[in-house]
């Protein structure tokens, strides 16, 4: 854990709970927010689209962090929850012409319900047994989508219109950037709040020692269910946002590989801590961006490789990064960041840390 900045003394309990401590931190936060909101002014189109998709994956990852990070319930079906939400919202938008915000909410709710159903497995199973059941979520998604082609478009998926709220159409990525950013920021805020309240503490108790948790009155099965519910809710929201960004809803976006990516983001960033999730998501998305840029050069250098090597290459790098973190820094980038902060705050007496 990082120490507090030197010279900062806590005088009230409420202060200890605060997210932002010193005035310097408040100023930094405001500057950061200002910077984020000003991004469309100077980012290129490619980076804009990268940023939007990253925010969306962040929302999903924050949800997964509630299920795995806080509550310790291994779930490798998160992308499937995204898919359930996305197809629900897309179907409502395309077939029933429901407004964007309402479809968004329904995506979240549908995914939350599906997540709750899968949570029942967690009442009796732990660890990789639970993981196996959550993997099955992908097969169920596939089956459901194929069985209802009149709603879901089957193998072809659905084509979505430009998202709009109250008549204002987000037809350029500059305009679409803002709703996505706002929802992402709200999600960060909500999940960070969860960390410091009774519910979040109950989640962590379930993760660390469910016997102790039940001995103090925490209804363990209920909280497991709640963690899936909340996690899947955010997944559903992210799924629909993703479909709205691509203007299409396709099974390919919500496969087992995407679920593994999401867990990878949590591992690389630091499991169980909201700032860790942010680190991990940004890092892996950057990695994806870089490898896709490098892919043509790679193919040129090794022309005997099939064209598919481009995507294959991304996955190899991604797997290596996760494995490196698992071996050398299992607590993720967040831990590295804490160590840096300690070094910085104690300097020049950093050895004391």
């Amino acid at each position: 854990m990082a120490r507090r900045p030197p010279g900062y003394f806590v005088r009230q309990y409420g202060q200890e709970l605060a997210i932002v401590n010193t005035r310097a931190q408040t100023v930094l936060l405001i500057l950061l927010l200002g910077l984020l909101f000003a991004l469309p002014l100077f980012l290129s189109a490619r980076w804009m689209s990268w940023f939007i998709i990253t925010c969306i994956y962040l929302i999903a990852a924050l949800g997964l962090n509630i299920t795995i990070g806080f509550t310790g319930q291994v779930s490798i079906g998160h992308a499937a929850f995204m898919g359930f939400g996305a197809f629900t919202g897309a179907a409502l938008t395309v077939h029933l012409q429901w407004p964007f915000l309402l479809s968004l909410l329904c995506s979240g709710i549908t995914a939350a319900v599906i997540g709750t159903v899968f949570s029942f497995a967690s009442f009796r199973l732990k660890g990789f047994y639970l993981a196996l059941v959550t993997i099955a979520a992908h097969f169920f998604l596939h089956f459901a989508i194929m069985k209802l082609p009149q709603w879901t478009g089957g193998a072809y998926g659905l084509v979505l219109p430009v998202p709009s709220i109250a008549g204002f159409a987000f037809d350029t990525s500059q305009k679409w950037f803002y709703p996505v950013l706002v929802i992402a920021l709200i999600t960060v805020f909500l999940t960070k709040n969860l960390e410091r309240t009774r519910i979040g503490k109950a989640f962590i108790a379930v993760r660390d020692n469910d016997r102790a948790a039940s001995a103090v009155g925490i209804n363990v099965p209920f909280y497991k269910m709640l963690s899936f519910l909340l996690g899947a809710f955010f997944a559903g929201i992210a799924g629909y946002l993703l479909a709205s960004t691509y203007k299409s809803c396709d099974l390919a976006y919500f496969g087992l590989l995407e679920s593994i990516w999401l867990i990878g983001m949590l591992i690389v960033g630091g499991m169980g801590v909201v700032t860790g999730t942010i680190f991990g998501t940004v890092l892996l998305r950057l990695l994806g961006f870089v490898t896709i840029r490098l892919a043509p050069s790679l193919l040129a250098a090794m022309p005997f490789l099939p064209l598919t090597a481009a995507t294959g290459f991304t996955n190899i790098v991604f797997a290596l990064v996760i494995i490196l973190f698992l071996i050398f820094e299992p607590h993720g980038m967040n831990h590295l960041w804490d160590r840096f902060k300690n070094w910085y705050r104690l300097w020049p007496f950093s050895q004391a840390a």
Partner: protein, 269 residues
Amino acid sequence: MGEHIFFSAQDIHLSFGALVVLDGVSYVANEGEILGIIGPNGAGKSSLLNCITGFYRNQQGRVFFQGRDITHWPPHKIAKVGIGRTFQTEQLCGSLSVLDNLMIGRHLHMSANALEALVYWGRARSEQIREREKVEEVIDLLDLSHVRHEPVAMLPLGIRKRVDLGRAIVLEPSLVFLDEFSVGMNKGEKEDTVRFILDVHELKDVTIVFVEHDMDIVMDLCQRLVVLDFGRKLAEGPTEEVMGNPEVIRAYLGVPKETAVVAESSKEI
């Protein structure tokens, strides 16, 4: 059952397959007393406790608390009704600090729901502050102030046991079961912890049940005793009376050789 009886366990039977652990054990605990449950290793003391608190499922028998039948209730409901417990191997959330472990113990005294928690609105925040004050009281009582921000996995056994005790107390139960808390502690640690327990007993007016094998503690503190042996109750009553009971003495100290031979041969006749 009558409302006068504070706590009673009746005819508890527990077996794991062919192994009979508890064979019809019954006892009562009176409000405000310090009760001891003793017996040699393997007598079933901890299993009895686990049945009562919902961690094991007894095949037969009922448990009553303050007029309610709490048999087979899950642990979290038992905590809700006001029964706390510690564990033989202290059960703590290793990655969390002492403070956080105790704050978790205040779970039932807080009430913010998920929506309020997400937004950190109103009582979600105020109750964290309010409960923090309560928890600090217990931290002071148990002399844990100097380690309260340390992750518990790093702390020595004696302190971890105190945190386990604190977790049980912070629940504000009316009845607390202490499961062999003296295991692994040296004399000094035991004396310190006993002092805390007595403080708690006086200040918070809690009924305490010691599940113990340390006879010093039992003799000094407990007003009444229940003795178990091989899953059966040998005796129940005021401490001096029970300790003078010949069956109890025999279970603990064994029988001299000649008497055993005589007993055997008299059986054959």
